[in-house]
């Protein structure tokens, strides 16, 4: 069991890709701190893990709030005593064309996706620096590299996450902490469930593997980056997109 004795904190872990990442890490023995704004869903997810004998607890926090994040890390440290793995997965979309995009839509997406990732890296760096080890994986997106009409806020936030990933990797490398990003393409989740049928079809025409990805496709890449097999990999963006970006 590769992650036995390790604690993984997963933001947005209540459902979707975050939950699938929790599954993959728990299957390899990790203890789970499931963090989400959706209290009921997070608690149900944590309870489902505990029923199967996985050590797991739900924590409610808005990653966009530094105060929330500070309290969160205090609670997780008090509960589990350490944080070995941080997965910055919490993310939102507020799509609109630039001409129509409201300030609130821009700000909300940047606050959760980019600032939220920064807040959690900052909070995690203290215990990880002390431990002289740690693994951080940030969930970016293919659109952070390619752009996407209607997603100025989201693509900017994800491009920001990629820059942040590389800087954090450089700052923390000398202490044995790796920081990488996984950039999913089109993955079937609640987030993409909101897309129209045409938009979904259009997406698939640009996916060489000709199917939407599953949350598990993403989760396996995350598990790899957290494993000993990836010990010498840092500052990278691993694209899990069926070949959309080459």
């Amino acid at each position: 069991m590769g992650f036995a004795g390790k604690t993984a904190l997963i933001t947005g872990g209540a459902r979707g890709i975050g939950r699938a990442i929790a599954e993959e890490l728990a299957a390899a023995g990790a203890t789970l701190a499931i963090v989400d704004v959706l209290q009921d869903v997070a608690e149900a997810t944590a309870a489902a893990f505990r029923e199967r004998g996985v050590e797991a607890a739900a924590f409610v926090a808005n990653v966009a709030s530094p105060a929330d994040v500070e309290r969160l890390f205090g609670e997780v440290m008090a509960r589990f005593g350490k944080i070995d793995i941080l997965i910055n997965n919490a993310g939102i979309t507020r799509d609109n064309l630039i001409m129509r995009m409201k300030e609130e839509e821009w700000d909300a997406v940047i606050a959760v996706n980019l600032k939220g990732t920064f807040n959690c890296i900052k909070a995690a760096s203290r215990p990880m620096l002390k431990a002289r080890s740690g693994c951080i994986v940030n969930i970016a997106s293919v659109v952070g590299v390619m752009g996407n009409a209607g997603q100025a806020n989201y693509s900017a936030s994800k491009a920001g996450v990629i820059g942040l990933t590389k800087t954090a990797a450089k700052e923390l490398a000398s202490r044995g902490i790796t920081v990488n990003a996984v950039a999913p393409g089109y993955i079937a989740t609640d987030m993409t469930g909101k897309l129209s049928e045409e938009a979904r079809k259009a997406f698939l025409t640009v996916v060489p593997l000709a199917r939407p990805g599953t949350p598990q496709d993403v989760a396996r890449a995350v598990r790899f980056l957290c494993s000993e097999d990836a010990a010498y990999i840092t500052g990278q963006v691993l694209h899990v997109d069926g070949g959309m970006l080459m």
């Binding site: 203290r126 620096l129 002390k130 700052e171 923390l172 000398s174 202490r175």
Partner: protein, 79 residues
Amino acid sequence: MSSPAERVREIIVEQLGVNAEQVTDESKFVEDLGADSLDTVELVMALEEEFGTEIPDEEAEKLTTVGEAIAYVQKIVGG
């Protein structure tokens, strides 16, 4: 209980992984004790934790020797 100065020296020994004999008031963190930029940040964080205080960045930047760190802490905790 050990004095603030002793506690500061202990933290420096632990954080920088140096021998106690190397830690004199004149020792410079970077030049003499081999600290890199992360070490100095961690050192400041360890001092903040130990003495329950927040050291502003502009003050932290001025702490380049062991003696300066001790003097700063003594000023805060008195003694």
